[in-house]
C-alpha cells in the first residue's frame, strides 16, 4: 500500500457541490491535491487548486497523478474514471452514489485489464489519519495508530473510528469499499492489502446485512489473513422481508448464488466466527476486543 501524503491527487467533479465542499478539506488535511477537473471550467481555480477541463491537461501541467477522487454526477462517473485510467491514474476513489451497476461492470472490466484499484462508488473513500484524506471521512473522528478499519458504509465507519479514537486506539487507515450493489474493490482485496501493510497491526471489519461480501471475507480471512481481525455486523434486528415478484424465488436463490440464509446477519456472524473472527455485539465493544487482541494476538492455525 502506498497511501501517504506524497500521493499526487486530482479531484474530478471539483465544481459539483460535494466536490467543491470537500476539495479544500482534503487539501487542508495535508493531501497533495494537484488539480481539479471540471469540463467547461478549465482555467479557473478553487481554493487555490487549479481547475482543468480534462485529466490529460492536468497531467502535462502537474506531472504524474497517483490518485483521483471522483465527485462527478453518477451518470458521468464512468467516463470520468475511464478518462483517469487513460491518463495513467491507477487508484480511483468514487465517492458519488447512484452510479448505474452496468457502468460499474464496464469499469471493473477495464480496471482489471489495467490493474487499477477502484474504491466505491457510494463510498467516503480512504483516510490515513494525519496524512491523507481521499474522500469525505470526517478527520476529527480519527487519530493515527495501527488499526485498519475496513467497511462497506459511511457514517457507521465514522462511528466505529470515533469509538476507537475515544478509547485511545488510533487507526492506520480507514477504507469503505462503498455501499452500492456493484463496487470496484472487494473486502478480500482490501483484507490482503491491510494484511501486507506494515502500519496495520489489526483489522476491524464493519459489515452489514445484504449481499455476501462478509461471507466471502470470512472465507478469505480463514484462508489467507495472518493479522487479527475483529468484526461488527449491523442489521441483526432487520426485518427479513424480501421483495418477492413472480420471478423472485428463482432469481433470489439462483442468480446471486445465495442459499436461503446468506445475506442475513446470522449467516455473516456464523461465517466470521467459524473463521476465528471475534464479532462485537455493539460498536462500543470494539475497542475493548481490539485492545485485548493487540496485547495477546491469537496465533492463527492454518
Amino acid at each position: 500500500m502506498n497511501f501517504t501524503a506524497t500521493n499526487t491527487v486530482i479531484i474530478q467533479g471539483i465544481t459539483e457541490p460535494l466536490g467543491a465542499c470537500y476539495a479544500p478539506l482534503m487539501q487542508a488535511y495535508g493531501t497533495t491535491v494537484v488539480a481539479g477537473i471540471s469540463s467547461g471550467n478549465g482555467g479557473r481555480s478553487l481554493a487555490g487548486i487549479p481547475v482543468f477541463d480534462m485529466v490529460e491537461q492536468a497531467l502535462s501541467s502537474v506531472g504524474a497523478i497517483d490518485t483521483s477522487v471522483i465527485f462527478s454526477p453518477p451518470y458521468a462517473a464512468l467516463d470520468a474514471a475511464l478518462e483517469a485510467i487513460a491518463a495513467g491514474v491507477r487508484t480511483i476513489i468514487l465517492v458519488s452514489q447512484g452510479v448505474p451497476p452496468l457502468d460499474m461492470v464496464h469499469l471493473i472490466r477495464k480496471a482489471e485489464a489495467t490493474e487499477t484499484l477502484i474504491v466505491g462508488p457510494n463510498s467516503p473513500g480512504i483516510i490515513v489519519p494525519h496524512q491523507l484524506l481521499l474522500g469525505i471521512h470526517p478527520p476529527e473522528l480519527y487519530k493515527p495508530g495501527s488499526v485498519g478499519i475496513l467497511s462497506r458504509n459511511g457514517t457507521l465507519t465514522y462511528e466505529v473510528a470515533w469509538s476507537l479514537s475515544q478509547a485511545g486506539i488510533g487507526q492506520s487507515i480507514a477504507v469503505s469499499i462503498g455501499d452500492d450493489a456493484i463496487v470496484g474493490s472487494t473486502l478480500p482485496q482490501w483484507l490482503q492489502m491491510l494484511d501486507e501493510d506494515d502500519q496495520t497491526d489489526a483489522i476491524v471489519l464493519v459489515g452489514e446485512i445484504g449481499g455476501d461480501s462478509e461471507e466471502l471475507a470470512a472465507h478469505y480471512i480463514a484462508e489467507a489473513i495472518d493479522k487479527p481481525v475483529i468484526a461488527y455486523i449491523a442489521g441483526r434486528s432487520a426485518p427479513r422481508g424480501r421483495r418477492m415478484g413472480h420471478a423472485g424465488a428463482i432469481i433470489e436463490s439462483q442468480a446471486t448464488d445465495f442459499g436461503p440464509d446468506i445475506g442475513t446477519a446470522e449467516s455473516k456472524i456464523t461465517a466470521l466466527k467459524r473463521a476465528g473472527v471475534p464479532v462485537a455485539e455493539r460498536p462500543s465493544e470494539i475497542p475493548e476486543i481490539v485492545r485485548k487482541l493487540l496485547k495477546h494476538p491469537l496465533k492463527k492455525v492454518s
Partner: protein, 406 residues
C-alpha cells in the same frame, strides 16, 4: 422498478424476441374490438406473483366468455393487488417450456445468464436444472450458446434459443436492467420459440437516463422520474418507512443505512421495540451539500412524529463536516414548527392534516462530530434530551418509553 407483463412484452417485441399477438385491455368492453383471434388467454397484470394459481389467468374462446372473464379478473385481487390492466393474448401450442434469465450478480460483479430446460410454473423443477454462464468479458453471442449447450439443447433449437438470449442481453444492457426473465419460453412441435410470460426489472439508479422506461412506472404515477426531476441539492428521503415492530413505540432516525441499522440493533438488544426506522441518507450525493442534512432531518422528524404510536424518537446523527450545532439548530427549529398540512410520504397524493396531539413524542438526541458543546447548549432550551454516548442514548430512550407507558 418492476414492469408489468405487457410492458415487458412490448420491450421484448421491440428487441425482436418473439411474443404472441397481444392486446392491452383497460376495461372489459375493450374485448369487443379485439384484433387477435380466439382462443385467447386473459391475464391479470399485477406485480405480485402466483396469479395463475389464484385464478388471475383465464382462457376464453369467444367475446362473451372473454368479457365475463375480464370482469372476474378485474375484481380479483392477487395477494391484495387489484389489476388496473389486463392482457389478452393469442394461444400458442406448447411442446416444451424453457426458463431463461439475464441478471446482475453482485457477488461476482458480472451479469449472468440463467437457463433451465424445465421452465414453466413448477419453480422447483426449473431450479433443479438451472444452468449459469457468467458474462465475464464484453458480451458476444457465444456466451448465450454456452448456456444453451449447458441446458442440453441442440440442433436448430440451440440456435433459436441462443438468438433469444442474445436479444435479452442487448435489452438488459441497453436499458440498464436488473433482470430480464422469460418463463416460459415455449417451444412448439415445429421448433418455433415464443416468450409466453416475462418479467423485467429496471435499475432504479439508471432510470434517469431512460425516460421512456421511467414513464412505465404504474405504481407511483410519476414515480422515479419525480425523484430525478428534483432540483439538485434538494432534500430527499426514502419513499417508504421501514416498519420493524408493529407494536413498537420507538422511532429511530439516523443518517446512513449502516448507522440506522446499528442503532436499531442496539434498541432491540436492549429490549426496546422500534416501530419505524428512518435513514435520512448518507453523504455521497454529488449534488448535495453537508447542510442538506438539516432539511432531511426536519422532514424525517416530521414524518416520525406524525405516528401517534411513537412515544420516543431516538435521533443518532454522525455528522461528517457539518458542525453538530447546526444539527441541533435544525432540531430546535423543528420543535418550534407550527402544525402544518403536509403530504403523506407513503401515499403522496393524500393530504393529511397533522394534529400534533399531546403527548408529543420525546426526543433523545445523540450526536457525533465537532462543536458538540455548542450543540448541547442549543438543545438545552428545548424539550429534547441530549446524550453524547450511544449506549447511554439507548438506555435513556428505553427508560423514557417506560415512563410514558400508560
Amino acid at each position: 422498478m418492476d414492469l408489468l407483463e405487457y410492458q415487458a412484452k412490448e420491450l421484448f417485441r421491440d428487441a425482436g424476441i418473439p411474443v404472441p399477438a397481444y392486446q392491452r385491455i383497460d376495461r372489459p368492453a375493450d374485448l369487443k374490438s379485439l384484433t387477435i383471434p380466439y382462443p385467447i388467454a386473459i391475464k391479470s397484470q399485477v406485480y405480485m406473483g402466483g396469479r395463475g394459481r389464484l385464478g388471475g389467468v383465464r382462457m376464453a374462446s369467444n367475446t362473451i366468455d372473454a368479457i365475463a372473464a375480464a370482469h372476474t379478473i378485474f375484481n380479483l385481487p392477487i395477494m391484495g393487488e387489484l389489476p388496473k390492466v389486463l392482457l389478452a393474448e393469442a394461444k400458442f401450442e406448447i411442446d416444451q417450456e424453457l426458463y431463461l434469465a439475464v441478471v446482475l450478480n453482485r457477488s461476482i460483479r458480472r451479469p449472468v445468464l440463467l437457463g433451465s430446460a424445465q421452465g414453466g410454473i413448477d419453480v422447483q423443477t426449473a431450479i433443479a436444472q438451472m444452468q449459469q454462464v457468467v458474462v465475464d468479458q464484453e458480451f458476444s453471442p457465444f456466451y448465450a450458446r454456452r448456456l444453451v449447450l449447458k441446458m442440453g439443447l441442440s440442433g436448430d433449437l440451440l440456435n433459436a434459443v441462443t438468438d433469444v438470449i442474445e436479444r435479452m442481453y442487448r435489452l438488459f444492457l441497453n436499458k440498464d436492467l436488473d433482470l430480464v426473465e422469460i418463463n416460459p419460453l415455449a417451444v412448439n412441435t415445429a421448433g418455433e420459440v415464443m416468450a409466453l410470460d416475462g418479467k423485467v426489472s429496471a435499475n432504479d439508479a439508471a432510470l434517469g437516463r431512460h425516460p421512456a422506461l421511467a414513464a412505465l412506472d404504474m405504481r407511483s404515477g410519476q414515480g422515479a422520474t419525480l425523484k430525478e426531476s428534483r432540483p439538485p441539492g434538494a432534500a430527499w428521503l426514502p419513499d417508504v418507512l421501514s416498519t420493524v415492530d408493529p407494536d413498537g413505540q420507538i422511532g429511530v432516525l439516523a443518517n446512513g443505512a449502516g448507522l440506522t441499522m446499528a442503532t436499531m440493533d442496539l434498541v432491540c438488544q436492549a429490549g426496546g421495540k422500534p416501530l419505524n426506522c428512518l435513514n435520512i441518507g448518507g453523504e455521497t450525493r454529488s449534488d448535495a451539500l453537508p447542510e442538506d442534512l438539516c432539511e432531511r432531518l426536519e422532514q424525517g422528524l416530521e414524518l416520525l412524529s406524525r405516528n401517534k404510536q411513537i412515544k420516543v424518537i431516538l435521533v443518532n446523527i454522525v455528522s461528517g463536516t457539518l458542525p453538530c450545532s447546526r444539527v441541533t439548530q435544525a432540531i430546535a427549529k423543528f420543535l418550534q414548527r407550527p402544525v402544518s398540512i403536509v403530504r403523506s410520504v407513503n401515499s403522496p397524493h393524500d393530504e393529511v392534516r397533522l394534529s400534533r396531539v399531546k403527548p408529543f413524542p420525546s426526543l433523545v438526541v445523540r450526536l457525533v462530530g465537532v462543536q458538540l458543546q455548542e450543540a448541547e447548549l442549543s438543545l438545552a432550551k428545548t424539550p429534547a434530551i441530549f446524550v453524547e454516548d450511544l449506549d447511554q442514548a439507548i438506555t435513556q430512550t428505553l427508560s423514557l418509553v417506560r415512563k410514558r407507558e400508560p
